[in-house]
């Protein structure tokens, strides 16, 4: 197997999101908030969501960690705004496929800037960094689902 290349991992777009994260900050009127930590390395994010009429109306995050985890969350939030909640599951699946080296997923235009993360699949120990955001997102939607069925 060919050696993985550093420049395929550290794409300019990733570094750019790391330095200038999108949707970073807190919102006052979130409906759900999830704290997610990667216990083995200490990366963490807090993700807040507001859903209106079945669509993601707003999303914000705060956190700290490596360039991969923080850029991936930033890219994810960029894609989420206005998306139907029902589409999120397939987005998460698609991203997971990309992290497992699926080249079709890496070309899927619906994945937006997240496609720049395709190179992470060649660095298996870093895949969990990239997945932190989607893990938090899925937990948030599960919580949201629970609270809407309770009420």
């Amino acid at each position: 197997m060919q050696e993985p290349q550093l420049n395929s991992l550290y794409q300019q777009l990733i570094l750019e999101h790391y330095r200038n994260p999108r949707n970073k900050g807190e919102m006052d009127d979130s409906q759900v908030e999830v704290h997610m930590r990667n216990p083995s390395c200490g990366d963490e994010i807090k993700l807040q969501l507001r859903v209106e009429h079945g669509r993601i109306a707003d999303v914000r995050f705060t956190g700290q960690g490596c360039s991969i985890s923080q850029a991936a969350v930033s890219m994810m939030t960029q894609l989420l705004k206005g998306k139907p909640v029902d589409d999120v599951g397939s987005m998460a699946d698609r991203f997971t496929e990309m992290m497992h080296g699926d080249e079709e997923a890496a070309k899927d235009r619906r994945m937006g800037d997240l496609r720049a993360l395709a190179g992470v699949s060649r660095f298996p120990v870093r895949v969990k960094c990239a997945l932190l955001g989607f893990d938090a997102l899925q937990e948030a939607l599960r919580k949201l689902g629970d609270s809407s069925t309770e009420n």
Binding site: Y10, S40, C41, G42, D43, G65, C66, S67, R126
Partner: protein
């Protein structure tokens, strides 16, 4: 034949020859991502010399049998090798009597043994356990579990900005309720060599607490004299001192060991078993239930032989020489923060640092692609990370086979990090 200098001057300890030692370690003779490997993760685990690998193989090929159980020749030889290794490991930490050395799976296992076998019998609600903020999770969590079961309270020695214990508070932290004091000899996350020689007598003077040292990072490095230290227990791991994984030792003062109930029950640790009860074997076998890690013990004994041939005084001197050089070279990097004591004499071979430009994981990935293995993360010392308000650091840690060229390779690969993230 070795000749002593007869001029009346002290004999100079010959510095160890790291380039020569390096050839004893097969794992170091490889390329990683197209570069010769520079292994700087020794605080996590060290590589193994041929002498240790051979001893383990020879044990399995020639002597393998269950120890203390057979009359036959192989069992006799296995027992001899196993007990011979115990004597070597005892000698390494200055213990006069090998029967005060209990084989364990490692430091973690030794501390858990104490928390269960001593702690559950002697610690009550309202009692106190004194630890320090520097501790590795394996010298925190077993005591947290004990505290949860007994209602004891955990207290901490704090650390200053340089990772050294703040001892002004010690009199206040010790009182008649202090039942256990468990401290690290050397910190794995910052490399501080802790002033246990000063602290242990003070603890003794003020309490009759059980005094435990976590020697995971101390035993590989320092000339340890458990009797001189005046502690009750000293726990350490084989794999951090060129030995195999899955083996370690817990040294304990004989009266303490004898007064303690067993940890686990099973074969090997009994004297007589009847229908409702049994009586225990002598120390140390009382604490060694089941078929032990015989090959591991033999390997750890071989590791002691190897390190003795290197020269124990040379180890600390060499690591500190490398650290001095590394601190010097690293401090030129823009945006670097180096943690731990400023004085090299108070440091082990560990250098923990962060760069403003890049997160420790990114640093570790990039230097790895240049063949340099370092650790990034919290190093199982989250209390230390919290103290400095960071989630992670990058950590380079040296051992006997590292060289100045390894430090140079680390520095040049960090420049590659800065090129990407600068």
């Amino acid at each position: 034949m070795a000749t002593r200098a007869d001029s009346g001057h002290p004999v100079q300890t010959p510095a160890l020859d790291a380039h020569a030692l390096r050839r004893d370690f097969p794992a170091l003779q490889q390329e990683v991502h197209g570069h010769p490997l520079v292994y700087l993760d020794n605080a996590a685990t060290t590589q193994k010399p041929v002498a240790v690998l051979d001893a383990v193989q020879r044990y399995y090929r020639e002597d393998n049998a269950n120890v203390h159980r057979g009359i036959h020749e192989l069992s006799r030889r296995a027992t001899e090798a196993y007990e011979g290794a115990r004597a070597k490991v005892a000698r390494w930490i200055g213990a006069a009597d090998p029967s005060e050395v209990v084989w364990t799976r490692g430091t973690t296992d030794g501390i858990n043994l104490l928390a269960a076998a001593w702690g559950l019998d002697h610690v009550k609600e309202g009692d106190e356990i004194l630890l320090s903020v520097l501790e590795h999770h394996s010298n925190l969590v077993p005591w947290h579990l004990l505290a949860r079961r007994t209602g004891a309270r955990i207290r901490y020695i704090e650390i200053d900005d340089q990772g050294e214990w703040i001892l002004d508070d010690l009199p206040e932290l010790l009182n008649e309720r202090t039942r256990i004091v468990s401290l690290s000899h050397v910190s794995n996350s910052l490399g501080s060599i802790n002033p246990v020689e000063q602290v242990v007598p003070e603890i003794r003077a003020r309490t009759d607490a059980l005094i435990v040292l976590d020697g995971a990072q101390g035993a590989p490095l320092l000339p340890v004299d458990v009797h001189g230290l005046g502690v009750d227990f000293y726990a350490f791991s084989g794999h951090k001192m060129c030995g195999p994984t899955g083996i370690g030792a817990l040294w304990g003062r004989r009266d303490r060991l004898e007064a303690m109930e067993p940890y686990q029950g099973g074969g090997e640790m009994i004297s007589l078993v009847e229908r409702d009860a049994s009586t225990w074997a002598e120390v140390p076998h009382k604490f060694e239930a089941g078929t032990p890690n015989m090959a591991g013990a033999v390997g750890m004994g071989a590791a002691v032989d190897y390190l003795e041939s290197v020269g124990r005084d040379a180890i600390l001197a060499w690591e500190q020489a490398l650290v001095r050089y590394a601190l010097d070279r690293l401090s030129d990097l823009p945006g670097i923060t180096i943690y731990g004591p400023r004085a090299v004499e108070r440091r082990s071979g560990v250098v923990s640092f962060t760069l403003e430009a890049a997160h420790p994981h990114d640093i570790s990935t990039i230097v790895d692609m240049h063949g340099v293995a370092i650790r990034a993360g919290h190093h199982c010392a989250q209390l230390v990370m919290q103290r400095y308000g960071t989630a992670a650091t990058a950590r380079a840690s040296f051992y006997i086979y590292n060289t100045r060229e390894d430090v140079d390779r680390l520095v040049s690969s960090l420049h590659e990090v800065l090129k990407i993230f600068g």
